[in-house]
């Protein structure tokens, strides 16, 4: 999650105070990991330094949070570019699991059992995400779904690998 781009995106909705940005970030993107105030203000300072936001006015009243930030054309262009560019498909190719399976076969260890244990751990996490989905808001459900589909893809790989263990064993232990 890119904090500067997310804050810029929130600012494109409307000019906001740092406090409001933190509140909305935590509500939609924080997911139990709130953004520290310090990070909000340091990020906003950098965005202002780089010409992506300007400080419009200092509202009257008490408290430290009196500056209102407005996105600039430069900032809006960056948000636009970020939103329209696809995210890099994760290229990790199951490195850890793959290495474990191959090594287990090379070392004549029970690779199928390791895969079973991994499947069980994946399903356990999927149950947790399903509970979050059932109990939470639509935003929670959407996030949980993202995790669920990724875990499901891993599980398909586990199934396929499990079905090919005998062949793979011959290849890595000639």
């Amino acid at each position: 999650m890119s904090v500067p781009l997310t804050l810029l995106g929130l600012l494109e909705r409307e000019p906001s105070h740092g406090y409001d940005l933190k509140r909305d970030y935590d509500a939609f993107f924080g997911r139990g990991k709130p953004l520290p105030f310090g990070q909000v203000y340091s990020t906003l300072s950098r965005l202002a330094r780089d010409g992506k936001v300007v400080i419009s006015d200092v509202a009257p009243g008490s408290g430290p949070d009196r500056k209102r930030y407005i996105i600039t054309d430069v900032g809006a262009t960056e948000v636009e570019q970020w939103l329209t560019q696809p995210v890099d498909p994760e290229p990790h190719l199951q490195t850890v699991l793959f290495a474990k399976v191959v090594l287990a076969l090379m070392l004549d260890r029970p690779a199928a059992e390791y895969l079973d244990t991994q499947r069980s751990a994946h399903l356990h996490r999927m149950r947790e995400l399903t509970e979050i989905k059932r109990a939470g808001s639509l935003v929670d459900a959407l996030l949980a779904d993202h995790g669920l589909y990724h875990l499901e893809a891993d599980l398909r790989w586990i199934e396929m690998t499990g079905a090919r263990l005998d062949a793979l064993r011959k290849e890595v232990r000639p």
Binding site: S120, L123, R127, L151
Partner: protein, 226 residues
């Protein structure tokens, strides 16, 4: 919690083809168990043995202390009618009956009078978001609606165990998850034990735990502490 239904070392063959080879599984009261496994692994055969639809060649099926494998067909039939509920991949609604009559069917077959059965069936329409569809026939329902009607029919008689064999297999992802959400919600509310056969991990994730069936045997992973 106590075990309500159990298979012990069950073997079953279709002619020369062995489907179950010493399958054992125990399900606790109120538990939602997912039975997973690849096609042809024996998971549906296991469900059919547990439900008293098939009689094992050897081994035992125990339900609430009773020896299901040793019962006569009439006794197993009563068990299925009075204590078990069923939902299959395709709703298998009776096309000549309206949706509400389909839901009421298990009650009517158990001897509940129509005057009592139909209101009980109608209550499920509100519960499962089916209001207004009571008098439609199965051909006039979407796949998701038909499956929710089938779910209502499976649960209307408040069975001790609901057997669900790929209940979302014919539905798209979103509709399938809505059906699962309703199934789990209703089962938990009335304390029904659910045995859910599925090959889809996202559907199995609605269960409390899963077992894998492979080559006719059950492989239950160690439980992971929550």
């Amino acid at each position: 919690m106590s075990v309500v239904i159990e298979a012990r070392d069950v073997e079953f063959a279709f002619g020369q083809t062995s489907a179950l080879r010493g399958a054992s599984v125990a399900v606790e009261a109120g538990e939602i168990l997912a039975v997973m496994g690849p096609s042809g692994s024996g998971k549906s055969t296991l469900l059919h043995c547990l439900a008293g639809i098939l009689v094992p060649d050897s081994g035992e099926i125990l339900f609430d202390g009773a020896r299901v494998h040793a019962m006569a067909e009439t006794e197993r039939s009563s068990l299925r009618r009075d204590r078990f509920g069923f939902v299959f991949q395709f709703g298998q609604l009776v096309p000549e009956l309206t949706a509400v009559e389909n839901v009421a069917l298990p009650l009517l077959l158990s001897g509940v009078h129509r005057k009592q059965a139909l209101p009980r069936a109608r209550a499920w329409f509100t519960r499962l978001g089916l209001d207004g569809l009571e008098h439609r026939r199965s051909g006039e329902l979407s796949g998701g609606q038909a499956q929710r009607v089938a779910l209502a029919r499976g649960l209307v008689a408040e069975p001790q165990v609901l057997f669900a064999d790929e209940p979302t297999g014919a539905l798209d992802s979103l509709t399938g998850e809505q059906v699962m959400d309703l199934l789990v919600g209703a089962a938990r509310e009335q304390g029904t034990t659910v045995i859910l056969v599925t090959h889809e991990p996202r559907i199995a994730a609605y269960a409390d735990r899963e077992v894998m069936v492979r080559d006719g045997r059950v492989n239950a992973p160690d439980r992971i502490a929550s």
